[in-house]
Symmetry: C2
C-alpha cells in the first residue's frame, strides 16, 4: 500500500481534473479534493503522494499551488512529510478536524467584531508624524537614494535601528550586520535560503510561518512550550531553532532565564543558530522589557523584527540582525540590488526613529493596549470568572483557557454572534515534540505527548487567542461583550 | 566521461572546501573555483555536475548560493543546462570570455562617469510633487489602509493604473485583473510560479532576468532578434515567451506589426502566453508610442511594467496586467496578505497618477532624455562618424555598433579612463537561436548561427550599450567625451 502513489496519483489526477474546473481557488479546491480522497479511504493511510511537481504537471496547475496545498494539509494533520520519504497520508486522520483555513469564521457574512490577533489598531497610525518624517527625509536624502538600492537597505535606517535596538532591546550589533527586509516572512525566506536543513520550531506558532518554511523545503520539528516558553532541552541535532523568547507566540510566556542561557549554549556547542522572532518586544506592561536573547551571543543568534506590530503591517519594513559571518550570505540571497522595500519609506522610518516619534508612538500604544488588556481582564473576571486568562504581561493578545473539548464550539458560537476570534488549535504544530530527531509526525491532540512532561503541548489545551489591539476604540466594549456571551458558563 | 560527476564532485568538493574558507563571497569563490576546474581540464567538457542541492549539502553552504553560481556560469557559457539532463560542463569553453559579473568595470576604484544603462537620473526625482501626493494620499486613506493589505495591492492604484495604461499604452483591462508587485523581478518570479515550463526569451536581454528564471527552475531558449525586434517565427512548443515589444532590450528595435500579430496568433493556437516586458514604453521620441501588444489579446498577453524607469527604482512598485484566468493564481502565488510593497507608497503613486503629476514628470523626462540622446548622436557624428548608433527612437539607452572583435577592448579602455559602460556581450544569451525545440546550448560567438538568417544574434555583433539617463546633467558632456576617447578610430 505504502508506495502505490503512481496508481493513486493517476486516479487522483483524473478526479482532480474534474474538480478543478469548479468554482473556488485552485489551492482550496485541491485541498478539498485531497481531504475527500483521504476521508473516503480512496487514499489509504501511509499512501505516498506524488511529488508536488509531478502532480502539478499532471493537473496543469502551478507547482506552488500544489506545494502550498500539501504544506497546509501537513499542517492540518491530513498528510505527513518526512525528509527523504516524501509526503504521505497520515496514519491517523480521523480524530483531527481541519484547522480553519481562513482567518474569518465559518459564518457567511463579514464579522461585526474582530478579536483575531496579529493586527495593531489601524485607526491609530500616526499620519501627521509620519508625513513630517517623510518631508524631512525626502528633503535631506542624497540624490543616490533615488537610484538602485543597496540590498542591505538604507544605511540611515540601519544606523537608527542599531541604536534603537541597543537601547530598547539590549541588542549588540553594528549597522553593517543589519539587513533590511520586507517583514518576518521575507526574513524567514532568506534564512531558509542561507541556513536550510533541519529546523526546530515551537509547538505553538504561526501556521503561516510553518507553511512558508515547508514551501522553502525546510522541515520543522516541534519542541514543547509551557508557561516559561519553549522547552529548549528538547532540542537535538537541528541546525536552527525558531523561537519567540520575549513572549511565546501565542501562549504568552517569556522564555525563562536559564532556558535563554541553555539555548545559547546549545547553539554554541552544536554549531546551530537561534532565530529570535522579536515580533512584539516593545509591548510589555507590568515590568521592564525582557532583553533580546541576541545580546547573549550575537554570533549565534539572529534577531528578526519589524514595524508590523508597533506601527503598521502596511509599511513592509523589517530587519534582521545577523552574525557577521552570515550577513554577506543573506545579502547574496536577497539579490544584487534592493528589489523589495521602498527606500523612501526606509528613510522616513529612519527619521521617525531618530526624531523620537517612534518612541512616542510606542509609548502611546503601550498605554492604549495596556488599558485594553486591563479591560479584557476585568470584564472576564466579572462575567466569566471560570475562564483563566494567561499571557497577559506583554503583547497585543491574551490566551483564554477553555474546558477540554469546548474550543471549536466556542469559536463557532462567537462566529455566529458576529465575532471573529481564533482557537489555540489554529496555532498548534501537527507534529510530536518528541526527543528523537526523526520523531514521528503525529496527528491530533492525543498524539501530542511530550515525554510525560506537563507542557502545554502535552495537554493540548483548549483556548482562545484574543487579539485586543484590532478593534477601533468605540467597538471594543461591544466586542468583549460578544466574547463573553460566546464563552461556556462553567 | 559524460556521467562521471560523482567522482568529479567528490574531488571538487574537497577542493572547494579549501577554497571556501578563503576571502570573498561564497558564490564568487565557488564560481572562481568551478571556472578554474574547467579551465584546468579537471572538469572535462560534457562532465555532468552534481545537482546543486547535493553540492550545497557536501559543501555545507546555502543551496541558493550553488544554484546562483550554476546559473551565472550557464549565462557565462562555462556550463550548459538542459531540462532532464542536468548541468554539464560546456563542450567548447575556450572561445568565450566570462561576462563581467559586476556592473563596475575591472578598474579597482569607482568609475568617474557612468553610462551603464538601466537607471534614470536620480537627481530629478520629483520630491516636492511626490510629497504633496503623499500628504493627500495619507490624509484621505481609510483606516483599513494601515492594516494588513490585499495581495492584489491597493484598489486606488489599480484603478489609477487601469486608466493610465489604457490611455498611454492602449492596454485593455480592469482593476481586478491588475496585481501590484515590487517590480519586474517580482513579476517574473510570480509568473515562473504560475506558468513554469518551457520559456522562450530574446537572444539579447537582461542576464539578471535569465539568472532569476534559472533559479526558479525555468529553462529558457533564445530566439533571435533583428532591427525589427524578436524573430517570433522561431517560436516552437514553448509555454511562455518573454518579449520587449516596445523597444527590444537592449538592441532597440520595436517589434514590427506583422510580428506582433504573429506572436499573438502563435499564443492563441498553441495555448501559450506572451509576457510583455513594457519596461520603458513611455519614452519614445520621434513618433507616437507603439501601443502594448497586450491590447491585441488581453487573454493571451501578460503585461508587466513598473515606475523603475519612469520615476525611480527606489519605490519598488510594479504591476502585472493579467488574463482573467491567471489573476487568482498570481495572487495565490503572491501570498495571503500583501508582504511586499508598501501600501502608503501605493496610495501615494495613485494620487501622483490621478493628479496628473505622473504625466507631467514623464513629459519632462522625455524632453530631457531626448535632448541627451540628441547630444549623444551629434557628438558621435562629429567625433566618431565611423560608429553607427542604433535603437535611438526610444528608451534610456542606445547601442553603438563596433568593429568585430573590438568590444572587450573598448569596454576596458573606457574603464581605464574612468567610464563605466557595458558591451553587448553582457546581454547575449549563451544559447543558440535554433529552430529545434531541444536546440543545443552553444558557447561562444561562433556557435550563434540562426539558420542562415541575417539576425543580430547570427552576427553576434560587437557593440556598446550606452545608458544616457544616469549621469547628472553637469557630468554628461564629460562622460560623452570620455566615451569618444575610448572608441576605435576606424
Amino acid at each position: 500500500m505504502a508506495d502505490s502513489w503512481v496508481n493513486s496519483a493517476e486516479s487522483l489526477g483524473a478526479d482532480l481534473h474534474l474538480e478543478l474546473t469548479g468554482p473556488g481557488s485552485r489551492r482550496a479546491v485541491l485541498m478539498r479534493a485531497l481531504r475527500d480522497a483521504v476521508r473516503s479511504g480512496r487514499l489509504a493511510p501511509g499512501t505516498r503522494l506524488p511529488p508536488y511537481r509531478s502532480l502539478a504537471a499532471d493537473l496543469g496547475i502551478a507547482r506552488n499551488t500544489v506545494a502550498d496545498a500539501y504544506a497546509e494539509l501537513v499542517a492540518e494533520g491530513w498528510l505527513t512529510a518526512r525528509q527523504g520519504s516524501g509526503t504521505r497520508v497520515a496514519q491517523q486522520v480521523a480524530p483531527i478536524a481541519p484547522a480553519p483555513r481562513r482567518r474569518t469564521p465559518a459564518r457567511a457574512h463579514r464579522p461585526v467584531y474582530d478579536l483575531v490577533q496579529g493586527k495593531p489598531d489601524p485607526s491609530v497610525f500616526p499620519r501627521a508624524a509620519w508625513l513630517a518624517s517623510a518631508r524631512r527625509a525626502l528633503s535631506a536624502a542624497p540624490h543616490e537614494a533615488f537610484g538602485p538600492g543597496d540590498p542591505r537597505g538604507r544605511v540611515e535606517l540601519r544606523e537608527a535601528l542599531a541604536g534603537y535596538l541597543a537601547r530598547v532591546r539590549g541588542v549588540r550589533t553594528t549597522p553593517e550586520r543589519i539587513v533590511l527586509c520586507s517583514g518576518a516572512a521575507h526574513a524567514l525566506r532568506l534564512m531558509a535560503a542561507v541556513a536550510g536543513g533541519r529546523w526546530a520550531v515551537e509547538s505553538y506558532g504561526l501556521p503561516f510561518h510553518r507553511g512558508l518554511l515547508a514551501g522553502e523545503g525546510v522541515a520543522t520539528r516541534p519542541i514543547g512550550v509551557d508557561e516559561h516558553g519553549a522547552l529548549v532541552e528538547e532540542l537535538a541535532g537541528e541546525d536552527v531553532v525558531l523561537l519567540t523568547p520575549a513572549h511565546q507566540f501565542p501562549t504568552g510566556g517569556p522564555l525563562r532565564p536559564e532556558r535563554r542561557a541553555a539555548v545559547v549554549d546549545w547553539a554554541r556547542s552544536s554549531g546551530a543558530l537561534v532565530l529570535e522572532d522579536d515580533y512584539d518586544g516593545e509591548f510589555r506592561y507590568d515590568r521592564q522589557p525582557v532583553g533580546a536573547v541576541q545580546s547573549l551571543d550575537p554570533d549565534r543568534v539572529v534577531l528578526m523584527g519589524s514595524v508590523s506590530k508597533s506601527l503598521s503591517p502596511t509599511l513592509r519594513i523589517g530587519w534582521m540582525v545577523l552574525p557577521e559571518r552570515l550577513a554577506d550570505d543573506v545579502v547574496e540571497a536577497k539579490g544584487e540590488r534592493e528589489q523589495w522595500s521602498s527606500a523612501t519609506e526606509q528613510l522616513t522610518l529612519a527619521d521617525f526613529i531618530v526624531s523620537g516619534a517612534y518612541d512616542r508612538h510606542v509609548r502611546k500604544m503601550r498605554q492604549r493596549y495596556r488599558r485594553r488588556r486591563d479591560q479584557l481582564v476585568s470584564v472576564l473576571a466579572e462575567r466569566a470568572p471560570q475562564v483563566r486568562v494567561t499571557g497577559i504581561a506583554a503583547g497585543l493578545h491574551a490566551v483564554l483557557e477553555l474546558p477540554p473539548g469546548t474550543e471549536r464550539a466556542v469559536v463557532k458560537a462567537a462566529a455566529w454572534q458576529g465575532l471573529a476570534v481564533e482557537g489555540l488549535a489554529d496555532y498548534r504544530h501537527p507534529g510530536l515534540p518528541a526527543n528523537e530527531r526523526d520523531g514521528l509526525v503525529a496527528n491530533g491532540r492525543d498524539g501530542l505527548v511530550a515525554n510525560g512532561r506537563d507542557s502545554l503541548a502535552a495537554h493540548a489545551r483548549d483556548g482562545l487567542v484574543v487579539g485586543y489591539a484590532t478593534p477601533p476604540e468605540h467597538a471594543y466594549a461591544a466586542a468583549l461583550d460578544t466574547l463573553c456571551r460566546a464563552l461556556p458558563l462553567d
